[in-house]
């Protein structure tokens, strides 16, 4: 690894771990480093690279992934994470385990969850070792969230938002809460005829009534301020139409087939 890369790397490390880190500076450092890594043939390692260099590359990418979250740049996180996959899976035997591996994998899981990519979520989960699912706090958190979301225990999800095992997890909390609110709202529309405003706010985890009312108008609910109730507009019962065309097509199909048999 060239010397200037090393200096850049130590600069980045120092800047990133300082309490008031300059995200912009980190960003420029990272893009310089990435260029350097490509020139050194380390970003996509081939043949038999030096394990030390690999470990440094891995750390740079890990910092990049965390930086993306802090800079609220999810696509960039996605890129860093897929580049890291090589280091976590293929160089598993060569490299010492990274302390940041599980936090990042957990973050990736939450990202999939907030984007509602449940199938990808489970595929990723299968690739993780068994112990991690049970014991690792970083992995357990998204796993529990998914389970509660599937069952409908939304209050537990709400309760768990403060229990995030790492600072970066909180970035996803907001979008997760948005997802949950929409879920609860659609359940509510089906389950209730009307709800007192106060209770609706509690169910949807709104602190102020105003937030609730904007949310309600977005979803097209009728808010009766006098009696302080929300009336859910029921979707009119779908008219039972006879699907004539389909039935004709089916009958003609039967006739044709029967003709062939007889």
């Amino acid at each position: 690894m060239p010397a200037d890369l090393r200096t850049l790397y130590s600069q980045l490390k120092k800047e990133f771990s300082s309490p008031r880190c300059d995200l912009k500076l980190c960003g420029t450092l990272l893009s310089k480093l990435k260029l350097g890594l490509i020139e050194a043939g380390l970003l996509l390692p081939q043949e038999n690279p030096n394990p030390d260099d690999l470990a440094v590359t891995r750390e740079i990418l890990e910092i990049g992934a965390f930086w993306s979250i802090r800079a609220k740049d999810v696509p960039s996180f996605d890129r860093y994470f897929s580049q890291l996959q090589t280091f976590y899976v293929d160089f598993n035997d060569v490299l010492p385990p990274s302390p940041r591996q599980y936090p990042l994998q957990g973050l990736n899981l939450i990202r999939l969850l907030t984007q509602n990519r449940i199938a990808d979520f489970h595929t990723t989960l299968e690739a993780l070792p068994e112990e991690a699912l049970h014991d690792n706090a970083f992995i357990k958190h998204p796993v529990n969230l998914e389970r509660w979301l599937m069952e409908g225990s939304y209050s537990k999800v709400w309760g768990a938002r403060e229990e995030a095992p790492a600072e970066e997890y909180k970035f996803f909390v907001d979008s997760l809460m948005g997802t949950i609110r929409n879920e609860i709202a659609s359940c509510g529309e089906a389950a209730y005829e009307s709800l007192p405003v106060h209770d609706a706010a509690a169910l949807l985890f709104f602190q102020s009534q105003n937030d609730l009312i904007t949310f309600a108008t977005q979803r097209g609910w009728q808010v009766d301020l006098v009696s302080q109730t929300i009336v859910f507009t029921r979707k009119g019962e779908e008219k039972a139409e006879i699907p004539t065309k389909e039935m004709i097509a089916a009958s003609l199909g039967y006739a044709k087939e029967l003709e062939q048999i007889v």
Binding site: E126, R147, Q260
Partner: protein, 506 residues
């Protein structure tokens, strides 16, 4: 032990190819190998792959009879006296007392085609395959792997279509050897390269085997996304044998189940079960597929048939699964949890643990449905107690979600804190008022018609069988002609009579 048994599965499935062996009196293994070599030669000279197929079909029964002596003799007979290839091969055969040749050093490499009277490459590879099998049975895995590698290199250099089906077997056992050695990661590049070559050469046998090997390779390392990509980038050869197809469908079902496409997974697994060889010949595969099948069925919200658990082959293997099914059927969350924790190890070994964890909310759903049917009105507090939920708040959300997902037809009265069930399935509002019965009817008729058409297509017409019929048709036609003639003649006679009358009068 059970783990190894499960790993054995593909092999067991492989053996299933064996249709009842030919009836003639049992020949000695040496004679059998000799006959097989002759068959292979015939296959090569007549370009008829079915002779090779016939040889491979006896592989399992022959495998049990292999000894060092038999192999030694076979190799000695097949090769000319001083061929280097022969020496190299003999080196792999474990030394036994009867051996009269000093085993030469193992490092000597084979140089094929050195003499003009070398056996055909096909026969050579077949003999090598037999030796590999024997070495596997003797637990001499490193040696077997070495030989298998050498053989694969040889196959690769040869590019002969008549070699394909034997080559597929060699690849299979090479993959199996790495599986035994637990080094599946190392063989992946070789398999991928071989797969590419096979598809370029349109070598269907190898392609089917290699795709399956790669899938099992990925799945054993839990690399589902890679497996999925492999499936999407390759087409499984349609001419592949039933056993390979069954395995492929099983892997496909497994991938889809993890990706939550349960309906698709269900179809694939069902096909795999139908295509698989009977339970008696391949119990391992049968059990593994059924385990996954049951879980997928549960995840879809169906309850598997009770009869399944009574089948002799499955009865014992499915006990833990039966308990899970019971818990889901009754919607008893605590029973589910206890069954899960008791059999956790078994489920982990079967790689169904994470799938079973997903069943938790199915259990809750079934529970809520049972309550909604039983009670016209029930308080959220009681729901919470009956389903062992953590809080009333949760119960409210869960019921809400169940209503939205159309699991139950009910309303929640928030102020009074209870759930009111709507009466369902009665009168005009029942399921018969919807389009569902029509759709189901259409689906079933469609299936029957398809089945009929497929069977018509699959019918075989023996050559020249219609000749006989033709002859009889000809005879019939002849008779008809005669009849027609007679009638015409009769008519004419009549005419004569009719016209003849007045004429006579003249």
């Amino acid at each position: 032990m059970a783990a190894t048994k499960d790993k054995e599965t593909p092999e067991v499935a492989e053996t299933a190819k064996a249709t009842p062996p030919p009836p003639p009196p049992k020949p000695t293994p040496t004679a059998e190998i000799k006959a097989n070599l002759l068959l292979i030669e015939r296959a090569v000279s007549t370009l008829e792959p079915r002779f090779t197929q016939r040889v491979l079909r006896t592989l399992t029964s022959l495998r049990k009879k292999l000894t060092a002596q038999v192999l030694n003799q076979a190799v000695n007979e097949a090769y000319v006296r001083d061929s280097p290839a022969k020496k190299a091969l003999l080196a792999y055969i474990p030394t036994s007392a009867e051996m009269d040749i000093d085993p030469p050093s193992k490092t000597s490499t084979t140089s094929p085609n050195s003499t003009s009277s070398e056996p055909l490459p096909e026969s050579d590879v077949y003999l090598r395959l037999l030796i590999i099998l024997h070495l596997i049975d003797l637990d001499a895995h490193p040696k077997a792997t070495e030989l298998a590698h050498e053989t694969v290199d040889k196959i690769h250099a040869l590019n002969r279509r008549s070699l394909d089906s034997i080559a597929a077997k060699v690849y299979f056992y090479l993959g199996r050897l790495y599986e035994i050695a637990d080094k599946v990661g190392e063989i992946r590049p070789l398999l991928l390269a071989a797969q590419r070559t096979a598809s370029l050469r349109r070598d269907d046998d190898c392609q089917a085997t290699l795709i399956n090997l790669l899938l099992s390779n990925y799945l054993s390392a839990n690399l589902y996304s890679q497996a999925d990509k492999l499936v999407s980038k390759t087409t499984f050869p349609t001419s592949a044998g039933n056993t390979q197809l069954a395995r492929y469908l099983y892997y496909l079902g497994r991938i889809r189940a993890v990706q939550l496409s349960y309906t698709e997974a269900h179809t694939h697994l069902q096909q795999a079960i139908r295509r698989a060889s009977p339970a008696r010949t391949a119990p391992g595969f049968w059990q593994t597929v059924h385990k996954l099948f049951i879980i997928v069925e549960l995840l879809m919200g169906d309850i598997p048939e009770r009869g399944l658990f009574r089948q002799p082959v499955l009865k014992k293997a499915l006990v833990p699964y039966l308990q899970i099914v019971r818990a889901v059927r009754t919607g008893d969350l605590s029973q589910f949890q206890s069954a899960l924790s008791v059999h956790a190890e078994q489920f982990t070994r079967d790689k169904t643990y994470t799938l079973i964890l997903r069943l938790r909310h199915n259990v809750i759903k079934t529970g809520v449905r049972a309550l909604s049917i039983a009670y016209a009105r029930i308080s959220l507090r009681d729901i919470c107690v009956k389903l062992h939920l953590d809080s009333e708040e949760d119960a409210e959300y869960i019921v809400g979600k169940a209503i939205r997902d159309d699991v139950i037809d009910a309303r929640v009265d928030h102020a009074k804190g209870w759930m009111v069930s709507a009466r369902r399935g009665e009168g005009v509002d029942g399921v018969y008022a919807t389009a569902e019965p029509r759709e189901n009817f259409q689906k079933r008729i469609g299936f029957c018609l398809d089945l009929h058409n497929q069977s018509v297509k699959a019918m075989r017409y023996p050559l020249n069988a219609h000749r006989k019929e033709l002859a009889s048709v000809e005879a019939a036609r002849e008779r008809e002609k005669e009849l027609a003639k007679e009638i015409v003649e009769g008519d004419l006679e009549d005419d004569d009579d009719d016209t003849g009358g007045p004429m006579a009068d003249f």
